[in-house]
């Protein structure tokens, strides 16, 4: 049985598409920043913000909120775009990305933007912080959940594995981690730079409960997050297989799009594709 209705899935899909367009616009305006990772993770982030997480954008410090720690801070443009649509700040503010005085720093700064649970950018630090939050929640007898999003590239970092060991030791069943398995990093495909497979077996052998999902299937992501709540003895790792650059054909699967923004023409082509869902529907903006 699915944990989410079809019409809600459809709504989230539409929202995600809108968010991808805002993301492209903000990257074009910023003239720098990351494209592939953010586009690839928007379906997961949208499912989290529009279905899974409990939060109140009007009261970002609400004590019993669920907490999301995004460890790969370079996907900040995606986090910001989703947060704007979730009501944390006006969508127009996305146009200040990376500019002097903006709350939307190039990599997330918790102190600047209410709603962010942590500052991130240097890879490998997020899971530990999420674990700290999960431990604190347990000490305080809280029933909220802690979510951590990790990239595949940061599994080259030792700290990620230190954290994996710890979470299993303390049986952090209030922690759900989601791994953005897009198979790219800066210097190439992850399996060429530093082979990571099988991440599922690795986490399993570290004492985690592992689930694998299509990171663009809203229903599957939602179901996995729901199922994770019922795993009692272990932290849960959801490996979300994602397509870097998702939604823009010339960016998809290309590690070359890890760290650059679209130029004007590329942005236009991207927006055209997104508006027409890759030609499936006619764009009204021609």
């Amino acid at each position: 049985m699915s944990s989410i209705h079809d019409d809600k899935i459809k709504k989230i899909e539409e929202k995600a598409n809108e968010i991808r367009q805002d993301l492209i616009k903000s990257l074009l305006e910023a003239k720098s920043g990351h494209s592939a990772g953010p586009l690839g993770f928007i379906d997961v982030l949208s499912t989290l913000y529009f279905h899974v997480l409990k939060y109140d954008p009007k009261n970002p410090n609400w004590e019993d909120r669920d907490k999301l720690f995004v460890s790969h801070g370079h996907i900040a443009p995606a986090i910001y775009a989703v947060m704007a649509h979730a009501g944390y700040f006006p969508v127009e503010e996305l146009m200040t990305l990376r500019k002097l005085g903006s709350r939307l720093q190039g990599h997330p700064h918790r102190e600047s933007l209410p709603g962010l649970e942590s500052s991130s950018g240097p890879l490998g630090q997020g899971l530990s912080q999420a674990i700290g939050a999960a431990l604190a929640a347990k000490l305080d007898g809280k029933r909220n959940r802690i979510y951590a999003c990790l990239s595949d590239g940061e599994h080259d970092e030792g700290q990620t594995w230190e954290a994996a060991l710890f979470a299993a030791k303390y049986k952090l069943n209030n922690l759900t981690a989601i791994l953005d398995r897009n198979n790219i990093q800066i210097d190439g495909y992850t399996e060429d730079v530093m082979p990571l497979d099988s991440l599922a077996l690795k986490y399993e052998s570290f004492g985690w409960h592992v689930l694998e999902v299509d990171g663009h299937n809203i229903g599957d992501i939602a179901d996995a997050c729901e199922f994770a709540k019922s795993v009692y003895e272990k932290p849960v790792m959801i490996i979300a297989h994602t397509i870097p650059g998702k939604g823009v054909d010339f960016m998809e699967f290309k590690f070359e799009w890890h760290g650059k923004p679209p130029n004007k023409e590329e942005a236009k082509a991207s927006l055209d594709q997104l508006r027409t869902l890759g030609g499936k529907i006619k764009s009204e903006h021609e």
């Binding site: 500052s119 490998g124 630090q125 674990i131 700290g132 431990l135 230190e162 954290a163």
Partner: protein, 328 residues
């Protein structure tokens, strides 16, 4: 003249003074802090006994977390707990924390403004026989440059206890460093301690010795011996390296016009450098620095090492005479 307001031990230069490692004061202070505030928690990276965080573990087992040999993870977990309202103390040797996990301290802790207290044990050359790998001599340099991070080097076990309790009350990240060896206990429960406020232990008019950590006592001994040569030496216990008590340093510099800094740390980037930064911008006077002169340490007995590398009573006296020469 010893400053009476500092309530130092009565027989300051007597034979019978106790000697206790400063880290013991940390262990005791942390238990007190834990009693006062149930949000105080402690984490350790497989060095529970030698950092003395074991005292806390015994008293509050449910608030103690063993992370294994994983200093980066420890810093990150503490940051997450702090943001959720806990007051985490993390402990290891200074060479590993803040040595191994500096990036995590910089971003997960400081950039997050997370209320984490970092306790670095076994700092200074007096770590001794373990050798250079284990002698933290760069820890103050890499921490005092971080925005918002308070850095403290207490001078004896009693001051360390007070500092630990004060640090638990302070809102914001702190790094504290401790020594391994038995060090003379020369302050008392009545001696004042306030973060960011240096203590003038002895007044003097010819040279100001600005010291931190257990070498403060050696500075007092040196000052007393120099009195016999007719040299009047002031001694400042400059326990807070960041933010430094600028006025205390400047007042003494204006009075003496010659400064010697004393620390168990590299002279490049340490407490002395911070003093020089203040003086050069406000009131330049000749400065001599006692500390590690840009080399790694080595194995040996603490006393031997302190003597070899000039962090001794004689070393301080020589520096005082040298700076007096330059003052002329």
């Amino acid at each position: 003249m010893i400053n009476e307001k500092m309530h130092l031990v009565e027989d300051l230069f007597g034979e019978g003074l106790k000697a206790v490692p400063t880290r013991n004061g940390f262990g005791e202070g942390l238990v007190n802090a834990g009693k006062k505030n149930k949000n105080v928690v402690a984490l350790c990276a497989d060095l529970t006994d030698s950092t003395r965080i074991s005292y806390f573990q015994k008293e509050f087992p449910a608030r103690y977390f063993e992370v294994g040999v994983a200093e980066q993870n420890m810093a990150g977990i503490a940051a997450g707990m702090a943001v959720a309202g806990k007051v985490p103390f993390i402990s290891s040797y200074g060479v590993f924390s803040p040595g191994r996990n500096w990036d995590q301290i910089r971003v997960s802790i400081c950039y997050n403004n997370a209320n984490v207290k970092i306790a670095g044990a076994h700092t200074g050359i007096s770590v001794g026989p373990d050798g250079a790998t284990h002698q933290a001599l760069e820890d103050m340099a890499i921490t005092r440059c971080l925005p918002g991070l308070v850095v403290i080097a207490p001078c004896d076990s009693i001051e360390t206890k007070k500092a630990t309790e004060a640090v638990a009350e302070h809102k914001g990240p702190v790094y504290m460093r401790f020594a391994r060896e038995n060090d003379t206990v020369f302050t008392t429960e009545e001696t004042p301690f306030e973060i960011g406020k240096a203590n003038l232990l002895k007044d003097g008019s010819d040279v100001a010795v600005v010291a931190c950590g257990p070498l403060v006592y050696k500075a007092l001994v040196a000052a007393k011996e120099l009195e016999k040569d007719g040299i009047s030496v002031a001694v400042l216990n400059n326990h807070t390296i960041s933010p430094m008590d600028k006025n205390a340093v400047l007042d003494l510099a204006k009075k003496t016009n010659a400064v010697v800094t004393v620390e168990e740390h590299q002279i490049n980037g340490g407490m002395g450098s911070a003093v020089a930064e203040i003086l050069s911008r406000n009131y330049p006077v000749p400065v001599e620095m006692v500390g590690m002169q840009n080399s790694f340490g080595e194995s040996g007995e603490p006393k031997e090492l302190l003597e070899k590398y000039g962090m001794s009573v004689d070393g301080i006296k020589m520096a005082v005479k040298k700076v007096l020469e330059r003052k002329k």
